[in-house]
């Protein structure tokens, strides 16, 4: 429908005739911008392997998206930047040392299986990046749980290590057997975990984009300021993790929040529009569920980290949560 230049052929459309000029690609771009600080920190700590992982994931996602749309005989959707964002998010959720072909396979899975087979953007029930991460964790368990130390090139004798979460997991057990609480970072049991300061900055082993809590927080503030996300999911998620660990004991609550995928999960993965509830109340329930499941897996599951699985399970419950929390019309009884 193109405007014609003749005076008597005006464009006809249903109101409104004004638009706020928001666009999907601008929203995606905002999320990408918000991820830049943590991306930079990941590259700072893990070096070139991080760069390569990000490059492979992003480019594979774009190519896969283009091929899928061609195969489906639908218009290209690369321009909406959602494939770029999925690639970046997946890379940020991978250990830096992962073989690049595995990162590529994961990226294909994210776009082709987790997103396009459902019809593309807006139709996928699960967060594509997290679905791919779960797929890779099962398919490539070893490489997916091998973590480079920050600045690993300076300590070539042992470049890889366990994450703080693996150490912290043992504390739940310790808690159950000994009455002495390991709360407090100076406790003997704290050996093997970084200081709070290191956790904030991200000077610890972990996925490329999850280590720097401070950088993630900066990104989250940007998204809140740009009104891309609302506070409900991150606050509910993080508060639940915090309160759960206060009650359940084990590692100090701040450590539970700052390590693993909680920060990136709460601010960037669980807030994915398509796979999270649309209502404010629904978002609170969703965030609470993510936090609770995450901690249950950390305490009782066989994996040290439960953040991805928690979000994926809540993704599945999202339609139900939406149904529970339908808004009541203004004036309805």
């Amino acid at each position: 429908m193109k405007p014609k230049d003749t005076a008597e052929h005006y464009i006809l459309s249903s109101s409104p005739h004004a638009h706020a000029n928001a666009s999907v690609s601008r929203i995606m771009l905002d999320v990408i911008i918000a991820l830049l600080p943590t991306t930079a920190m990941g590259i700072y700590f893990f070096g070139m392997p991080a760069v390569w992982t990000i490059a492979v994931c992003v480019s594979t996602c774009i190519v896969t998206e283009a091929l899928c749309r061609m195969a489906m005989k639908r218009e290209s959707t690369i321009g909406d930047l959602s494939a770029v964002l999925t690639g970046l998010l997946l890379a940020l959720n991978l250990p830096a040392g992962i073989p690049l072909w595995m990162a590529a396979v994961g990226s294909v899975f994210a776009i082709a299986i987790a997103k396009q087979v459902f019809g593309g953007l807006g139709m996928n029930p699960f967060n594509p990046a997290l679905a791919a991460r779960a797929f890779m964790l099962i398919s490539f368990t070893g490489p997916m749980t091998t973590w480079l130390k920050p600045f690993w090139w300076k300590t070539p004798e042992a470049a890889t290590t366990a994450t703080p979460l693996a150490v912290m997991k043992t504390w739940f057990v310790a808690e159950a057997t000994a009455s002495a609480s390991p709360h407090g970072l100076c406790n003997a049991a704290c050996k093997g975990v970084p200081s709070l300061c290191d956790m904030l900055v991200g000077n610890m082993p972990g996925c490329i984009g999850e280590v720097s809590a401070a950088a993630l927080a900066i990104g989250a503030v940007y998204l809140l300021w740009r009104k891309v996300i609302t506070w409900h999911i991150p606050v509910a998620f993080i508060a639940t993790v915090f309160v759960y660990s206060l009650i359940a004991g084990g590692a100090p609550a701040m450590m539970q929040v700052l390590t693993g995928g909680v920060m990136i999960g709460a601010c960037f993965m669980a807030t994915d529009y398509v796979t999270s509830p649309i209502t404010a109340k629904g978002k609170l329930i969703f965030g609470f569920g993510c936090g609770l499941l995450c901690m249950l897996i950390r305490q009782f599951g066989s994996y040290p980290e439960g953040c991805s699985f928690a979000i994926l399970i809540m993704n599945a419950l999202c339609p139900l949560v939406n149904r529970w929390t339908q808004p009541k019309p203004f004036g309805a009884k």
Partner: protein, 470 residues
């Protein structure tokens, strides 16, 4: 009388570009009588008026040419002297066709062709059309009848018959009369100018309405971006007695929506349809309507003309024009110096709820508050994408609906699901579509669902009636 800030804030709403500076400082100008008027029989909400004239008839200014046809209906009077050229279906702003009287205002009256035609020769005499009434001595019934015979309907947009609104059904009492001076639609400044230039008429109208309604408290609602209008109202109402307040509303679209205005001014919530404002003791009237009531009573002048804002970036000089109903859009545009560039879109009303029209040959009605000519730059072209569930529409919806759900349901042709999501509560304000990053036509989907549901209900009623009759 005092001025207060609105203490109640409704949920949702959006901030479109207001673009009011184009016409806000333009004093109301009277349009010279156009040579031809297209006077619709359907200028109001409800049943169209029944046309009383035929081609060839001469009519006098103020003569009833369309008879009130039902309870929810108003009469139509000739806006000027002239000869009836044609009575035919003409395109209205909303796209449908309705009976209209085409008046040739230049025709000189011939001597009455035969004794059966009593039509007197038209003269633009200053004698009042209806006998002026002294509102202080007139009875409530006389005043109400005057509002009805003056053909007054709500001039804010919906065109609900005013005499019906001012006559609450037995058992219901009006406690608050709310004057709607919000004018939250972008571009429009007609109400603003009326508040500035006709403040005394509004004051008189309020006093008459208070009498008709049995002395309700009065709330004059004006958005904070119109300080001059607030000052004009403060001056006009300074010495009025009784419970009268000017309520300054935050600038937020759709502040002018009846339900939201009632909430913003008196904190009451109108229940779901079919409930009306009177069910919570409120009557809302547009400021222009109130001025029209004053003219009808004091001067005996029916509602024959109104102020219309002609604006937009494709018109040479935006203006606020006092024009007779039935003035063709082309005449309004010509009075504004014509088109600066070919408009890509012409809108009858404002940009949020107005109707895009296909031609300038449409006549204005009692509810034509604006005519916008927008160039290509101001007209957005879109390709709707898939909903990404971002929730902007949900947060923007002043009715607290889930527009995303409704639009997806309508896409799937699942009207039942849309109905379950309370689509009938939708006021079609356009806030959802306005902010949608996927450029989905959510408001249009809501309209589609509402029309289907209304059609279904009508069909069910007809079926039940038929079963009863057989």
């Amino acid at each position: 009388m005092k001025t207060v800030k609105s203490p109640f804030h409704f949920k949702g709403g959006v901030h479109p570009d207001y673009n009011k500076e184009l016409a806000r400082d333009k004093a109301i100008e009277k349009l010279p009588l156009p040579a031809e008027l297209v006077v619709s029989m359907s200028q109001h909400l409800g049943a169209p008026a029944k046309c009383l004239v035929k081609p060839g008839d001469f009519v006098k200014r103020g003569q009833v040419i369309g008879e009130k046809n039902g309870f929810i209906s108003v009469c139509v009077r000739a806006p000027a002297d002239g000869k009836v050229k044609a009575v035919e279906k003409r395109l209205g702003p909303a796209g449908g066709k309705a009976d209209a009287v085409v008046l040739d205002t230049t025709a000189t009256p011939e001597p009455a062709p035969d004794a059966n035609s009593p039509t007197p020769p038209p003269t633009n005499s200053p004698t009042p059309i209806l006998p002026p009434l002294d509102w202080k001595t007139a009875t409530r019934e006389e005043l109400l009848k005057r509002v009805e015979e003056a053909g007054i309907c709500g001039m804010g947009g919906a065109g609900f018959p005013t005499s019906v609104k001012l006559n609450p059904p037995p058992g219901k009492r009006c406690e608050y009369l709310v004057l709607n001076g919000a004018e939250c639609e972008p571009y429009l400044t007609a109400d603003f100018r009326v508040m500035l230039e006709r403040a005394d008429r509004i004051r008189l109208g309020v006093e008459i309405m208070r009498k008709i309604l049995g002395g309700p408290a009065v709330r004059i609602a004006i958005e904070a971006n119109k300080p001059e209008a607030i000052a004009a109202m403060e001056k006009a109402f300074a010495d009025i007695d009784g419970n009268v307040e000017i309520v300054v509303l935050p600038v937020l679209y759709p502040q002018g929506s009846e339900k939201h205005q009632i909430y913003a001014t008196v904190g009451r919530v109108v229940p779901e349809p079919p409930a009306l404002p009177i069910d919570v003791g409120c009557v809302v009237e547009n400021v222009g309507t109130v001025a029209a009531i004053a003219d009808a009573v004091e001067k005996g002048e029916p509602l024959l003309e109104r102020v219309t804002t002609v604006s937009g970036d494709a018109v040479v000089e935006p203006k606020n024009i006092l024009a007779p109903s039935g003035t063709k859009y082309a005449d309004l545009v010509a009075f504004c110096g014509g088109e600066k560039e070919p408009p890509a879109k012409v809108i009858s009303g404002g940009t949020m709820m107005g109707f895009a029209v296909s031609t300038l040959e449409i006549g204005t009605t009692k509810t034509t508050s604006g005519l916008l000519l927008l160039s290509k730059k101001k007209v957005f072209q879109y390709a709707s994408g898939a909903c990404i569930n971002c929730g902007r529409c949900l947060r923007a919806c002043p009715m607290n609906l889930n527009p995303a759900l409704i639009s997806k349901a309508v896409d799937a042709n699942d009207i039942k699901a849309a109905e379950d999501a309370s689509v009938m509560d939708c006021i079609e304000c356009g806030a959802c579509s306005f902010g949608c990053p996927a450029y989905r036509t959510i408001t249009q989907s809501c309209r589609r669902a509402k029309n289907s549901i209304r059609a279904r209900i009508a069909a069910e009623k007809a079926k039940a009636q038929a079963a009863k009759n057989s």
